[in-house]
């Protein structure tokens, strides 16, 4: 029964792959693997304002994809649609399809989708609770804490976020006692604790100093072994350092999505080149 189901969903996803490849060949990066997530012809509106225009993007599994572009170009809006957190805003509308393993996330239970697609925000936003409780919050609400294994789960998550050594002696202190960089890694640990398949990061280093930023960048490269990562960044050097592929957004459209080295050294579109070389606002 379950293998039949798997087969079915596999066929489905291959179909979608073929369909989309024809429709939006320009935005699809040639990767041998089936994309972990994909957005197909996504339009998004805040009230009457259309923030995204026909955005189609694929996210390869176990890769870091960076989304770059000037402020207000829609990259954060797009990211926030990938886990449907934009739905919490009033007066918004989404058209198109966003899939996770070939299944349309818009038709799934939203809490399950958000459990599988984690998110780290621009500013560190730990809960006003202890470090321990922060990490355990997600597993707890999702019923994922096996009896007597809470400590183990917390340690594992903090280790994955490269924070364990710094906080192991003060797990029960307030998360606000940590520095900004530590808080952001705590937020990453908190997101990792529910074992997400995809991790979305919305300019996670914009409030951090260069040392904290470097730590988080190293972490991302390590984490992609375990999950698929999409990161929005203003910092082009950061995209160049951590991303396997990079997508360039402009005025709510995806101009170009390709291997990072191609985007930075040999972009196909003039707009991309102008932005990369700083000849653009």
């Amino acid at each position: 029964m379950s293998s039949a189901l798997t087969k079915l969903s596999n066929t489905q996803s291959t179909d979608t792959v073929a369909d989309t490849a024809m429709i939006s060949a320009s935005n699809v990066v040639a990767t041998p693997s089936v994309p972990k997530m994909r957005a197909v012809h996504v339009n998004f509106y805040y009230g009457d304002f259309q923030a995204l225009h026909d955005v189609s993007l694929d996210f390869a599994p176990n890769k870091v994809t960076a989304l770059i572009g000037p402020s207000g170009c829609g990259k954060s809006t797009f990211l926030r649609n990938l886990n449907r957190i934009n739905e919490t805003l009033r007066d918004t509308r989404l058209q198109g399809e966003i899939t996770l393993d070939g299944q349309n996330i818009l038709e799934h239970d939203v809490t399950e989708i958000r459990r599988r697609i984690g998110m780290v925000f621009q500013r560190p936003n730990p809960f006003p609770k202890s470090i321990f409780e922060n990490v355990l919050y997600g597993p707890k609400i999702n019923g994922m804490v096996p009896r007597g294994h809470a400590n183990e789960l917390v340690e594992k998550s903090l280790r994955r976020a490269a924070l364990w050594e710094e906080v192991k002696d003060k797990l029960h202190e307030s998360a606000y006692a940590l520095s900004g960089g530590q808080q952001q890694r705590l937020c990453i640990a908190r997101a990792l604790a529910v074992n997400p398949e995809v991790l979305l990061l919305d300019e996670p280093c914009s409030a951090l100093d260069p040392i904290a930023t470097a730590k988080i960048e190293d972490l991302l490269v390590e984490l992609k072994k375990q999950c698929t990562i999409v990161i929005v960044t203003h910092n082009m050097q950061q995209a160049a350092r951590v991303a396997d592929t990079t997508g360039f957004f402009l005025l709510g459209k995806v101009i170009e999505h390709d291997r990072t080295d191609v985007i930075f050294k040999n972009p196909a579109k003039k707009e991309t080149e102008d932005y990369i070389t700083g000849r653009f606002g």
């Binding site: 957190i85 989708i113 958000r114 809960f127 006003p128 937020c187 908190r190």
Partner: protein
Amino acid sequence: MTAAMPSPALPKAMTARNRRRNALNNAMLTLTGVCAFITVSMLFVILAYLVYNGGKSVNLDFFTKLPLPTGESGGGMGNAILGSMEIIFFATLIGVPVGFLAGVYLSEFGGKGLPFAVRYVCDLLNGVPSIVIGMFAWIVVVAPLHSYSAFAGAVALSIMLIPIAARATEQFLQDVPNSMREASLALGASKWRTIASVIVPAARKGIMTGMILGVARIAGETAPLLFTSLNNQYWSTGLKEPTASLPVMIYTHATAPYDDWHRQAWAAGLVLLGLVLVANIAARTIISRGASLPK
């Protein structure tokens, strides 16, 4: 701009215009200061009056004994103190949960139209004269039950408490940054779970403070109790009985033509103000220790 440029000469004396401006400035400064002083001193003047007139009557008997007829010395207002506590307790029991949950609805489940209407009605309810609320409680509780009762008084006070509690809850929940909601939702929490596990705990100090202030506010209300819980010269025997309360006791004692009753009224006023002040200070201490939220 070169160094050689001459600076404009300063006028030798203050012009008439300058003098006028300075005079006005000083006058306004003085006026606002005097008004601020009047505002602050009111509390202390009231307190001093209460202590001067009623201080001597506040003793252990005052808290434990029943009121006596005029002419007999001693006696207290034990029944009124207990009665007030009873009425306020039940008013809190009704008003705080209803107000709290209504506040959660206003803050967290607010769409566009309905919450606006609820908020508006809430503010109107807050402005309803307390005597009118007393009349309403008389119609819906006293008349059908054919008896004045502590319960009717509690209902009347809870109607006053609900809008205060709702708006306080709403306000402090609104102060919780939206990033907390997003963080919780992004982990796969449902909306209710987010509210119960993150948002309300983050705002709990503020909400508690608001509730204490609300309860302190209704504790001194007289009008809603005049024809709901009425009064009682003896210890109240239950929720269904007319029950003495401090505000009503003050009213009856102060309006009677006896000097010894007046002294008791002053003493009751002092006790009531003392209780309300303690509650206020406690509430503000809680909130000043607050700062549980990030900037």
